[in-house]
Assembly symmetry: C2
Homo-oligomer: 309 residues x 2
């Protein structure tokens, strides 16, 4: 069973949500409306053996990822962090020094992004470390950018480089990435209303762009040759499409605004990797298509595409 | 290392918190101020083997407790729930049916308290079930009732019956308790400004009333003979003082208002169990004192009191 299928099942049975639920489940963050204020909310876990390999990873990087994973969701809404609460299940063998290092590092990371820790819950148990962080944010002068706003003809962009963020020993860029909070807001300032949709890349570009397509009732085409692959060689684009844990931004933007977008903001490259398909050229059998360097196009599935030898 | 010591360490190093942190760490809920709105936040975990015994407990009661533990914190602030997010680490052996029963039950419990699920995160792993729930609330026409407001001379009350909520097989009242959300608001309506402080009883009356004393810079005296013990016999009061997991309310209220408080609201008894000590009669060597049936008084420690044979 996949997480997304289970969550869809859960939310499908939600009764009509009350009016104060401003953004329902299914986006990078949910939102509650309080009077004329909006508070955005996201929750993510970092589990030893799943999202980090504690045996090979300094505690302070484990702590950092627990906070930055959530801040990447704040970036995906082009929002501003307000605060966080942390729940921790600590292995009973943890020393007091280890527990303090873990929490001090989470607090320091959160503070560095103006996201103070305002509460928490700690349990001890005889099982691996699990950190659950809930982060709150507010719109930063622009409405939250949803997954559902992509329009036919939009250019599809990604920030930074993709693929290979998780190394076999548990190391890699997923421990060091910069949550794109400031970048997202600068993109929003550049593009204004032309910034139609945005998501952060946690499951891999193919998977996450599919979420934009599903929620926008649209389809998209990716140009293989244009992918900013982190890994060199022939497999680089494959990794860029399917590897998770990049925590870069993927966004769609109206064509005119796309032409005026800088190719780089604050040292981070912005790369056009494809476009949303219009009604006329949207083949119904797939939401996601891959344009190969030879000009042909084929459906992009979770398992990849057909390599022509 | 105790949870409370670790959290104190963490928060002690918080830099000056920004102005929008309306209630800092250390109460039943934290709070953020957004314009003229306040959003209250609490997080709690339910771990198999720690807070529930999954092998002996129906999934729907595990799910219920994951939600109601948090709602008890909402009650302790006399607040109104707004919504919740759930993070789950599911054992990989869980079937799809089990996962759906768990989430359906959490959703149904949350909805029954007007607290819709607005987001979540699910991981699969080879370790026990861990549910982390974050609940949001708003003040319900009265300010949030803090732990820090107790005043000398206040009467100390508890709701319901105390002790024995956790049975050896993992069963007991901790799986069935009613979060005192409505009760707390009715108490607040009765008492108005005379309701000075409130906490929910999760660690045991002695421990939780100590939190009120610490945060109010005060001391308290409990009358052993007045404790509403759930368990019969000579050990009943001992359990009422030290057992955790009651999820009843403990609150302090000005003496005049205490005399006018009903002894029961909606079928739940309200029992005066002691009072806050004034400056003159507050012995500095202990925050918590126990008045015995023979009229003598002695310090109440975490390990109990001296039984006179």
């Amino acid at each position: 069973m996949r997480e997304s299928d289970l969550l869809k099942h859960v939310y499908a049975f939600n009764r009509a949500l009350p009016d104060h639920v401003a953004i329902p489940p299914g986006d990078d963050m949910g939102a509650l409306a309080l009077g004329d204020q909006t508070v955005l909310i996201t929750v993510d876990q970092v589990a030893d053996g799943v999202h980090v390999q504690l045996g090979n990873t300094p505690l302070k990087l484990v702590a950092r990822k627990a906070i930055t994973r959530n801040l990447s969701d704040v970036a995906a809404m082009a929002a501003r962090p307000l605060g966080a609460v942390v729940a921790a299940a600590l292995p009973r063998r943890f020393t007091e020094a280890q527990a303090k290092e873990l929490f001090d590092s989470m607090r320091a990371t959160a503070e560095a992004y103006q996201c103070p820790l305002i509460g928490g819950d700690i349990s001890m148990w005889d099982h691996p470390l699990l950190l659950t962080v809930t982060v709150f944010a507010e719109p930063a002068g622009i409405g939250p950018i949803l997954r559902s706003g992509a329009q036919p003809g939009d250019a599809v962009f990604v920030s930074g480089q993709l693929g290979g963020a998780w190394q076999k020993d548990g190391g890699g860029a997923h421990l060091h990435f910069e949550p794109r909070i400031n970048l997202a807001r600068k993109i929003a300032e550049h593009a204004g209303d032309a910034l139609h949709s945005m998501i952060d890349l946690s499951d891999g570009l193919a998977s996450d762009l599919s979420h934009i397509c599903e929620q926008s009732h649209a389809a998209a085409e990716i140009h293989l040759a244009d992918l900013p692959a982190r890994l060199p060689g022939r497999d680089g684009p494959q990794h860029a499409l399917f590897d998770g844990e990049d925590y870069e931004l993927c966004f769609t933007i109206a064509p005119d605004a796309a032409d005026n977008l800088p190719t780089e903001i604050d040292g981070v490259t912005l790369t056009k990797v494809g476009h949303m398909l219009g009604e006329a050229d949207r083949p119904v059998e797939s939401r996601l298509w891959l344009r190969l360097p030879d000009g042909t196009r084929q459906p992009l599935t979770k398992t990849g595409w057909e390599h022509h030898a």
